[in-house]
């Protein structure tokens, strides 16, 4: 006899089920509850927190709740985008775990009727001996699935810390486009329509993946869960994508839902709930890959490459014709009716019947706990350093978090689809759609170190960092997606950090006036009591005014002036790479969000007229601070072997050079157009300081009391090869 523990529910939840149903559920029904009331499917710990995020904005077409958020890019095009995580499976089986994670998020985009055009990966790995093999497998898996079905990897973020040793993070942002005005989703099913399950035959793979693997901490028994990781079939995924898009383009389906976590159970229940209809599905009609599968197994299988379509009867013949053309397996598995139920039958035998208002809507949510916001006060004080040492420059630039990413991104196809104007060799991606159309600017940020001590400020910083990136292009941010990764929410400390992180994201989204249109929460990233840093992976999509002419990120000639837009008034090393190298732990500094917002608006105004004001190149200060930002500007695409000479105030201040406070930019400007920049503080109310100039000597020089010189060739070596930790 199956018990509530077997399906991952608590005693309280079992009581709630009996109270709401007025009876004891049978075994199959209990299994359905186990899946849908799991953390993975119900978001029970985070839903009330996520509800506080701003979801509305003038570009929002579809907010959270669907398979992906949708924003309006132009009169012709909408953009569907979302971050998903596949952390646990990728640790258990890196290649297939990552591959199926990509497959899943791409199906989410397709289920919104959008054609995926770009992938970005946000990865965190440990520092132990297992990490390189995990990274290698994950990169292989992401490329082998996404690229193989025609989607390029255009940008990403990669970071390392020992806290991810046993809990690496694999978050993937997918971006798709659809014609403006096309409405596709899970919420349109109408009574009388037929349910068609298309794609891969259902097997025994991944049963309980959502309820057990993804909703509990790792421990010794995790090894036994290897069979709960699914195996991807990208060719089937390609056929499924093309067939689904062909069907929705012709308006032949009234609702679409992909099959992800908890398979048929969640897809049918969520489609019924979203559409306010009843569904009857006949498990005996489902095409199975294996013999003698029980109804329980059929309902809970997480076999990949499956999609559920609701098709009005008069469109059935046309849909079947498309499916036949793509040689895609399909079965009619049920029908849409009026009512509030999910009924599972096998022939004429009723196996389960549950109200979806209880099955989907009834899961008890964890109420928001107030009053314990982490890190609202500066607990640890600023990091103090002595005199800046030459070695720090090489150590920071050669740190695993700052180093050249070519060894990763060259293993991805970044150009397939021929829309990539700027790919992963830049800090932001720029995608071209069609002549005369605005482009899409995509950026991700996942500054994990920031949020450990002060999760609230870390949440604000993560959003500010992502928006700072698209601001370099003068692009208009349309929406945000957040991938929240945290530890076990049943532990107060982990819960509080997650709550503060989400509240910080919400605060920033509100002030920057960019809505969060969807995302993902991955909890229980914890092994044997050790949790990861609370990590927000933020993705932003923005409207690029001139995708054929991105704003440059490298200075074109010697003599160009180097300016900083919005330098921090009190630079602070909290959360920085240098602080980690020096072994100093401090909370992420509080940002002046209004000043950042003002600077973002300034860039939006200035970048499109860059030529008139002599703006030559622009880069957001990121990981590694000003030093790494300037160094990368000199290393990247620099056949001229330019250098830079920066004049700082008295005593070269490490806090100024290495702080990672989001919302500051390095600008390279034409020295001949000086008056504009000399008076920009008065005319535009932004803070801009002149810190030096580009030189024709291949070295980075800092002066201020004394002079420090880093030859470019040594910087390149540190950036490309790393391995300079020992230099002291």
């Amino acid at each position: 006899m199956l018990t509530y523990q077997d399906v991952g529910l608590s005693a309280y939840e079992e009581q709630e089920i009996m109270r709401l149903l007025g009876r004891r559920p049978n075994e199959l029904e209990l299994g359905l509850f186990g899946a849908l009331w799991s953390e993975h499917c119900s978001y029970k710990s985070s839903k009330n927190l996520l509800a506080q995020l701003p979801h509305q904005g003038r570009f929002v077409v579809q907010g959270p709740g669907g398979n992906a958020g949708v924003v309006q890019l132009s009169a012709d095009w909408d953009v569907a985008f979302k971050i998903e995580s596949h952390n646990h499976p990728s640790f258990v089986e890196p290649l297939q775990g990552a591959a199926t994670g990509v497959g899943g998020i791409l199906r989410d985009i397709v289920a919104m009727g959008a054609r995926p055009i770009a992938i970005a990966d946000i990865l965190k790995f440990g520092t132990n001996e297992k990490a390189p093999a995990l990274l290698h497998g994950v990169v292989e898996g992401i490329g082998a699935y996404g690229n193989a079905i025609g989607i390029p990897n255009v940008t990403g973020s990669l970071g390392f810390s020992a806290v991810y040793d046993a809990n690496p993070l694999v978050n993937v942002l997918a971006v798709g486009i659809r014609r403006h005005g096309l409405h596709v989703g899970a919420d349109g099913a109408r009574p009388g329509s037929v349910l068609i399950l298309i794609g891969q035959g259902t097997g025994r793979d991944g049963i309980h993946g959502a309820s057990l693997l993804a909703s509990h901490d790792f421990g010794a028994e995790t090894e036994e869960m290897r069979p709960t990781v699914q195996v991807g079939d990208p060719f089937m995924g390609k056929l499924l994508m093309e067939a689904t898009l062909a069907i929705v383009d012709k308006g032949l389906s009234d609702a679409v839902q992909d099959l992800g976590a908890a398979g048929l159970t969640s897809s049918t229940a969520e489609l019924a709930y979203a559409s306010s209809v009843g569904l009857e599905i006949d498990v005996s009609q489902v095409i199975c890959r294996e013999a003698n599968m029980s109804p329980y197994e059929v309902m809970l299988s997480e076999t990949q490459e499956r999609m559920l379509l609701s098709v009005p009867k008069h469109n059935l013949a046309a849909v079947l014709e498309i499916l036949a053309w793509y040689e895609l397996p399909y079965a009619q598995i049920g029908q849409v009716m009026a009512g509030d139920f999910l009924r599972v039958v096998a022939g004429d035998q009723v196996l389960a019947e549950l109200p979806t208002s209880v099955l989907v809507g009834g899961c008890p949510r964890v109420p928001v706990k107030h009053g314990k916001r982490m890190g609202s006060i500066d607990q640890s004080g600023a990091v103090e350093t002595g005199n800046l040492e030459l070695a720090w420059g090489y150590q920071v630039l050669g740190h695993a978090d700052c180093r050249d990413r070519a060894s990763v991104y060259q293993r991805y196809d970044s150009m397939i689809g021929i829309r990539t104007v700027w790919g992963p060799e830049h800090d932001v991606a720029v995608m071209h759609l069609e002549n005369g159309s605005p482009g899409i600017c995509i950026a991700v940020a996942a500054p994990a170190r920031w949020a450990e001590i002060d999760s609230y400020s870390g949440g604000i910083g993560a959003v500010a960092a992502a928006l700072s990136l698209v601001a370099t292009q003068g692009a208009v941010p349309l929406g945000l997606t957040d991938g929240i990764n945290a530890g076990n929410p049943e532990k107060p400390e982990a819960y509080d950090k997650m709550a503060a992180l989400i509240q910080g994201i919400g605060k920033a989204a509100e002030i920057f006036e960019v809505p969060v249109t969807g995302g993902n929460v991955s909890l229980h990233n914890e092994t044997e009591g050790r949790a990861i840093w609370p990590t927000a992976a933020i993705g932003v999509v923005a409207r690029h005014p001139s995708p054929e002419h991105p704003m440059a990120d490298t200075p074109p000639y010697a003599g160009a002036r180097v300016l900083i837009l919005n330098p921090p008034t009190k630079p602070d090393l909290g959360g920085s790479v240098l602080a980690e190298i020096l072994g100093r732990s401090a909370s992420y500094p509080t940002l002046d969000v209004d000043a950042i917002q003002h600077s973002v608006h300034f860039l939006a105004e200035i970048v499109p007229q860059a030529e008139h004001v002599g703006l030559l190149a622009c880069r957001a200060v990121g990981v590694g601070g000003l030093f790494v930002t300037v160094a990368k500007s000199l290393i990247d695409k620099n056949p001229m072997a330019l250098g830079a000479h920066l004049n700082l105030a008295q005593d070269v201040d490490a806090r100024f050079v290495f702080n990672e406070m989001a919302g500051q930019w390095v600008l390279f400007v034409d020295p001949k157009i000086s008056p504009f920049w000399d008076h920009v503080s008065e005319t535009h109310g932004v803070s801009v300081i002149d810190i030096g100039s580009v030189t024709d000597s291949p070295e980075l020089v800092l002066t201020g009391g004394r002079t420090l010189t880093w030859p470019l060739i040594d910087l390149k070596r540190a950036y490309r090869k790393g391995g300079v930790r020992d230099v002291r």
Partner: protein, 201 residues
């Protein structure tokens, strides 16, 4: 026009391109399954009758698997996918590519897992003697050396031809405009189409 792989005969055509992509998910070996697709019988027949056939990346792999071009494409030496910009040098002129002079250097992207071109023992000299070596990986100045070879291809070979059948690993269709990083691909395809270099994209 796009042709369905199930066709057993070709409509009236001037030329055929087997484009890049990951046909059949690259299962078994890149191009191995597509080489046995029904339409390939018709392509083979048309090629034998002199129709120009151009295979790009996966299309090149398919043509080699089918035996329409000499040699084979093995996994890259590191066993990893490679996507990067590359320069290639035109090794020999062809009447199929008007205006594409020997020694010309083109900047084109490569993106493949199995692009290491190999031939059987003794076959290499034959390829050169017959002028079948079409493109070679080079540095931007057109020099051929090991550092300019991204994938261990023998003699830096990036493309070969067999009369009217031509295959290459780089992707000219991804280099069609300056904003994509290069427009050398537009020149290359215009040359194959016999349009000189007048195509405006």
């Amino acid at each position: 026009m796009v042709l369905d792989y199930r066709l057993r005969s070709l409509p009236v055509l001037d030329r055929v391109i087997l484009p890049g992509g990951f046909s059949y998910g690259d299962y078994l070996r890149s191009g191995a399954l597509a080489a046995a697709a029904p339409i390939m019988d018709a392509v083979e027949k048309a090629a034998a009758d002199g129709m120009p056939v151009l295979g790009i990346c996966n299309g090149f792999q398919i043509l080699c698997e089918r035996g329409l071009l000499p040699g084979a494409l093995l996994p890259n030496p590191g066993g990893e996918f490679i996507c990067q910009w590359q320069t290639v040098r035109v090794a020999s002129e062809s009447p199929l590519f008007t205006g594409l002079d020997q020694g010309r250097v083109l900047r084109l992207p490569i993106a493949h897992h199995e692009g290491s071109y190999r031939v059987t023992q003794g076959q290499l000299a034959e390829l050169f003697e017959r002028g079948q070596v079409f493109l070679q990986y080079s540095d931007p100045e057109g020099q051929l050396h090991g550092l300019a070879n991204p994938n261990g291809s023998v003699a830096n070979i990036a493309g070969v031809k067999n009369h009217n059948v031509v295959g290459l690993m780089p992707h000219p269709e991804r280099a069609m405009a300056p904003y994509l990083g290069s427009r050398d691909g537009a020149d290359f395809l215009a040359s194959w189409l016999g349009m000189g270099e007048t195509v405006v994209c």
